[in-house]
């Protein structure tokens, strides 16, 4: 590859974030798609793979006596600090990584080279796994109220909308076209979710081009058609998800919001969700806190507060609740928009859907929902998630916020979701990774032009094939929490920091034993035993038929111990559970004590490392933390010189 200046650097050190004093030494390899760190000083070979499309920043820090530090931040919240002995090498790696992590053209994206040679037919079929047509028909459309409109078949009316759109039956072709001309980017009001029980609908659009006084008869007729398509209600809500001030400012640019006086039978409502720039900065602030080295509890809570992140999550959820309530309880249809109708609108519509319809709380349901409200409606994935080297001002964690809203809900209703948090984290990872073709480009038109269905794989099939990893064992379709509309409590104390995502690779922070894994193991065991029982009974029946012989059935006792600890690789799991955190606040003061314990006995001498060890051909590179192996570091090595201070003195000076 022309971009790799230096394919291999030796004697590189990788610093563990939690215990920054411990470094592993190894060799760094640069390949076309991954940077690989191979630790070679321990008996067990440990590899850390970093996918280049997941790299979001590479920072070269000032050279010290030990070498040149290179800080790599990833979009899945992994952070790695390498120390490269030679400054020149560090420079070369830095320049190479910068280029490799910022492809200039779509064709360079990983999905076009990932399993490129697999059977075309199989790949094509995999893309048929989800069908939006089937989803709309599951909701009950088309029907006598809603039509499939051919108006955008060639992306002529709106190039960011999908080809197939559902509109009220009474909306004629001229009304649709007229309305689209009065809306930003031609994104006219169209159906997102239809509630077949009471005919209420969630529609979405972009802002009207109303300026200070402009009107559009067709647009007014379009909204009237939506009201008419709901026989149970004589009005509808129009929800502008922006803060009122932002919406008013837009009027000066000839855009704006609906004037209640011009539209008959609408109730207009602002819901102040901040724009993508505020969200980007908020996340940045929160990450500074979550990445800080050993912050105090107060620093952490203050940082979390000042980032405003949870406040924004609450705003999105509150908006979803408002809409779900209007639809479910008042049988009123709602039109949702923001500015262009592809960020906040997508968030709010999909959160409302999750609240309203238990289907979206199943694995397949969430996939379909993302496919409908995000992928098909032209959420700008490549811009927002920085797939190509582009404008940093376009980047914002919009879908991350939606996934977090779902997570917050699942924390509040642990039995209501078929999927577990790993599912959400895996989706988050692949929205950024570009390993699958689902999220490349910014709209359906672009994706079709890239022929993504022919050239790339679909994430959804992969997730479906591996669904056992993503099932929530507590989910029961018949549980009271699962039925009907979710009515979450939105008191501020219900919003929690999502450690499993934002500190995903800081394995020392997570619970050391996993309830989910345990329940899965128990369940599997039960299943096996039941199968054994059946087969034994069959045998008994056969044998009894043959003769009245005494029969001995052998039952297997299954070892469940592997499921007890949160990390599956057997050698490291005991160590993981057994690794003390840094309680001293003085670093490794204990290792300076004169009496080193030598025997391994119960030994806690194993340290987990955020790292990945995988073959490049593995279909799921860098996803859930649970199939990573942790590295092993021997802490019984001689004490470091710099910590050979008298703890007594240290205690004095620390106080």
């Amino acid at each position: 590859m022309e971009h790799i200046r230096l394919p291999k650097v030796e004697k590189v050190r990788l610093i563990d974030k939690i215990s920054s004093r411990r470094a592993s030494v190894g060799t760094l390899y640069l390949t076309a798609t991954h940077t690989i760190f191979v630790e070679n000083e321990t008996e067990i070979r440990t590899e850390t793979w970093v996918l280049h499309s997941l790299v979001c920043s590479v920072e070269k820090q000032a050279t010290t006596t030990t070498g040149s530090p290179l800080l790599v931040h990833c979009k899945n919240y992994q952070a790695l600090r390498f120390i490269i002995p030679q400054e020149r090498d560090c420079h070369d790696v830095h320049v190479s990584l910068l280029r490799l992590s910022r492809p200039a053209r779509y064709e360079e994206l990983y999905c076009f080279s990932f399993h490129a040679n697999s059977d075309k037919e199989v790949r094509g079929q995999a893309w048929d796994f989800l069908s939006l047509k089937a989803e709309y028909s599951r909701m009950g459309v088309p029907n006598h109220l809603w039509n499939l409109s051919p108006v955008n078949r060639d992306y002529k009316v709106s190039d960011t909308y999908p080809a197939e759109l559902y509109v009220p039956k009474s909306a004629t072709h001229p009304v649709i076209v007229g309305s689209s001309k009065f809306r930003s980017r031609g994104r006219f009001p169209t159906l997102s979710y239809y509630c077949k029980e009471n005919h209420a609908a969630i529609c979405r659009s972009s802002q009207p081009l109303s300026g200070f006084s402009a009107r559009c008869l067709e647009d007014e007729q379009m909204l009237e058609a939506i009201v008419r398509s709901n026989p149970r209600s004589d009005f509808m809500y129009v929800v502008d998800t922006r803060p009122k001030l932002n919406a008013m400012a837009n009027r000066a640019a000839g855009k704006g919001y609906e004037n209640e006086d011009n539209y008959s039978n609408i109730k207009f409502q602002f819901i102040g969700i901040e724009n993508i720039h505020v969200m980007r900065n908020s996340l940045q602030k929160m990450l500074e806190v979550s990445e800080a080295w050993s912050p105090s509890m107060s620093e952490f809570l203050e940082g979390l507060e000042s980032s405003g992140w949870l406040k924004h999550i609450k705003a999105v959820l509150d908006a979803g609740i408002f809409i779900a309530k209007a639809v479910a309880e008042d049988s009123v249809s709602v039109l949702v928009h923001c500015s262009d109708g592809w960020d906040r609108t997508a968030q709010v519509c999909s959160v409302a859907s999750v609240l309203l319809d238990p289907y979206y709380r199943t694995l397949k349901g969430l996939m379909v929902l993302i496919e409908r409200d995000w992928v098909s409606f032209g959420h700008k994935f490549s811009h927002r998630y920085n797939h190509l080297d582009g404008d940093p001002k376009e980047v914002s964690p919009v879908i991350d916020q939606f996934l977090e809203c779902v997570w917050q809900l699942s924390e509040q209703f642990p039995c209501a979701f078929e999927y577990n948090e790993r599912f959400l984290i895996t989706i988050q990872n692949h929205i950024y990774s570009c390993q699958y073709g689902n999220f490349i480009g910014n709209n359906q038109k672009e994706r079709t032009e890239l022929r993504h269905q022919e050239k790339t794989h679909s994430l959804w099939t992969y997730l479906w094939e591996n669904r056992t990893d993503h099932i929530n064992p507590l989910y029961r379709p018949d549980h009271s929490q699962t039925q009907g509309v979710l009515r979450p409590v939105t008191a501020p104390y219900c919003f929690k920091f999502w450690r499993a995502l934002y500190n995903r690779f800081d394995r020392g922070m997570h619970p050391r034993q996993s309830v989910i894994d345990y329940l899965m193991a128990v369940r599997e065991e039960t299943q096996q035993l039941e199968e054994q029982l059946v087969s034994h009974e069959e045998k008994i029946a056969i044998l009894e038929k043959e003769q009245g012989k005494s029969i001995q059935t052998k039952t297997n006792t299954l070892d469940r111990s592997h499921a007890v600890w949160a990390s599956p690789p057997s050698e490291s799991c005991l160590g993981l559970a057994n690794t003390p955190g840094d309680y001293s606040g003085l670093g490794d003061f204990l290792s300076s004590s004169p009496c080193q314990q030598t025997g391994p006995e119960s030994s806690l001498l194993i340290l987990p490392r955020p790292g990945e060890r995988r073959k490049p051909s593995d279909p799921d590179l860098s996803t859930n933390s649970d199939d990573q192996e942790s590295g092993i570091a021997d802490l019984s090595s001689p004490p470091s010189e710099d910590s050979a201070k008298d703890p007594d003195e240290a205690a004095y000076s620390a106080a």
Binding site: V489, K496, M509, H510, V515, L519, V522, A577, N578, L590
Partner: protein, 527 residues
């Protein structure tokens, strides 16, 4: 004592009771010496709500026309409201509640009157004695002995009659050491680590004072503890500065020159008033229903409760690390040695010792390290977070312990034999109880008041088969390994089950727990 003189109005009809999760209920309110009794007759069914007066932390009355409203804020953090017709009745009842909920004399308290049919006063009180504990640990018997020097509580009033000390130290020496330690709390063994023979000792601060007094016997005792291993750690639960300042009031610390084989580590754990105010602020924050996330986070931070959880767990982790990883014995103390000392030493034992993680083992730990070790429960738990009374000696050290144990159980959901409901139950019982277990401030006081003869023992009750089932952890998979908690702020959480117990939020979570229990039982049943 006659309670009736404090009950002017014993019965009121047509009272409306409002409480969380229930629609308002109309019925008859009745005040007795120890309870509020609310009954409602609705057709054939009658419902009864019984509230222990001791559970009431604060009472607010508000007149409205000819009737009055009483708001009861309980120590279990529940808030109830009574609408009482008749102003005079309302005031009478409020006065009775105020008086009867804060009785001072131990023998007047409800545990002395609680006589359920299924329990007998002849049942054993307490789980095991010091003798039994000692006898069970054969491996320590050649270096450690059981001393009865305190059999009449004269050497240390807050210690139990029997304690474990180094074999080579005789009772006479102990008496001298006791004089050199605040409240007579000389260093005693509280945990023996089987894997390497190292121990955890606890005591109160040495009375070195401003002129750096020494006590040869005290030095001898500590030397005997580390005999052979050469080095020990002292974890002082005060900051270095606080320890220095303590010398001005006659207290102090073990100086390097006098205790050359001991290394001192200072960790500042808050206690007393600071801790009580922290709880008050936290509970206030949880009750604030304003709808801003920022304000909530700022109040949560400002309460500092999670910081206290963090420090307690980190210090316990450090202590356990010294013993298990570094292979040294540790002495832990603060000033009196009855609060943070016990907090740290019992958490360290949970981390290290699988025996303390069973239901019986955990209750045993509480008995040894809190009841017998002389945590002054009556002083610390006189009031909880709602009380308007002037703070005296209240401090929620025990609640902090339960919170830390909950954090451990969250990080190791399979390692504990008991479950969250047990911790919640204990958090309630410690403030207001039918049982005598948490009465008084020490073993001596309990004996003097006849608690062991005239009340029932909570721990014995919790170990009865029916209760045991309720409080066991369905996921329990015993492990012999130490369980090292993560103390990163991201890993610690607000204990919603306790502090938000009376919100809808907690109800959803409780349902999920139920589901989990059913699932495991179902699977186990099938296999």
């Amino acid at each position: 004592m006659e309670f009736s003189e404090h009950i002017k109005t014993a019965n009121v009809e047509d009272v409306v009771l409002r409480r969380p999760f229930h629609p308002p209920m109309q019925g008859t309110l009745c005040v007795t010496g120890h309870h509020l009794l609310f009954s409602n007759r609705d057709g054939d069914s009658s419902r009864l709500v019984l509230l222990l007066l001791r559970n009431i932390d604060a009472i607010e009355k508000r007149p409205s026309g000819s009737s009055g409203t009483i708001t009861l804020k309980c120590k279990d953090l529940c808030v109830l409201q009574l609408d009482i017709p008749g102003m005079e009745e309302c005031l009478n009842i409020a006065r009775s509640i105020e008086y009867l909920s804060s009785l001072d004399i131990v023998s007047d308290m409800y545990p002395f009157f609680y006589r359920p049919l299924k329990l007998s006063l002849q049942d054993q009180w307490g789980l095991s004695s010091a003798e039994q504990n000692y006898a069970q640990m054969e491996e320590l018997q050649d270096r450690w002995r059981l001393s009865h020097v305190n059999k009449d509580y004269s050497v240390c009033p807050s210690y139990p009659p029997a304690v474990i000390v180094p074999h080579s130290i005789d009772d006479e020496t102990l008496v001298k050491v006791a004089k050199f330690r605040q409240g007579g709390r000389f260093p005693v063994l509280c945990y023996y680590h089987r894997k390497n023979g190292m121990v955890i000792m606890r005591s109160s601060q040495p009375l070195t004072g401003a002129n750096r007094k020494r006590c040869r016997e005290d030095e001898l005792l500590l030397q005997a503890v580390i005999d052979g291993s050469g080095l020990g750690y002292i974890i002082d639960t005060r900051s270095n500065q606080q320890a220095q300042q303590a010398r001005m009031t006659g207290g102090g610390f073990e100086s390097k020159s006098s205790y050359s084989c001991w290394k001192r580590l200072h960790r500042q754990l808050e206690r007393g008033k600071v801790l009580q105010e922290s709880l008050i602020k936290l509970v206030e924050a949880c009750g604030d229903h304003s709808h801003s996330v920022d304000r909530w986070l700022s109040k949560l931070e400002n309460s500092k409760w999670l910081s206290h959880v963090h420090t307690a767990l980190a210090t316990a982790g450090l202590l356990a690390e010294c013993v298990e990883r570094d292979g040294h014995s540790v002495l832990v103390h603060g000033s009196e040695g009855t609060d943070t000392t016990l907090l740290v030493s019992s958490l360290a034992q949970l981390i290290l010792d699988p025996k303390t993680r069973t239901l019986a083992g955990f209750l045993g730990l509480l008995e040894r390290e809190w009841l017998l070790a002389g945590h002054p429960f009556q002083q610390r738990c006189a009031h909880s977070a709602y009380s308007h009374a002037r703070l005296r000696l209240e401090a929620p050290v025990f609640v902090l312990l339960l919170d830390c144990v909950w954090q451990l159980a969250r990080q190791f959901p399979l390692a504990m034999g008991f479950s969250e409901p047990l911790l919640l139950r204990l958090a309630m019982e410690v403030y207001a109880s039918d049982y005598g277990t948490f009465l008084c401030n020490s073993d001596q006081e309990r004996c003097a008041a006849g608690v062991k003869e005239r009340t029932h023992c909570l721990f014995q009750f919790l170990l009865k088969p029916s209760e045991r089932e309720r409080y066991s952890n369905p996921l329990y998979e015993p492990t012999e390994l130490a369980i090292w908690p993560s103390v990163q702020p991201q890993s610690l959480q607000l204990w919603r089950g306790l502090f938000l117990r009376w919100t809808q939020h907690a109800v959803h979570l409780e349902k999920a727990q139920e589901e989990l229990r059913n699932l495991v039982i179902e699977c186990r049943g099938a296999s």
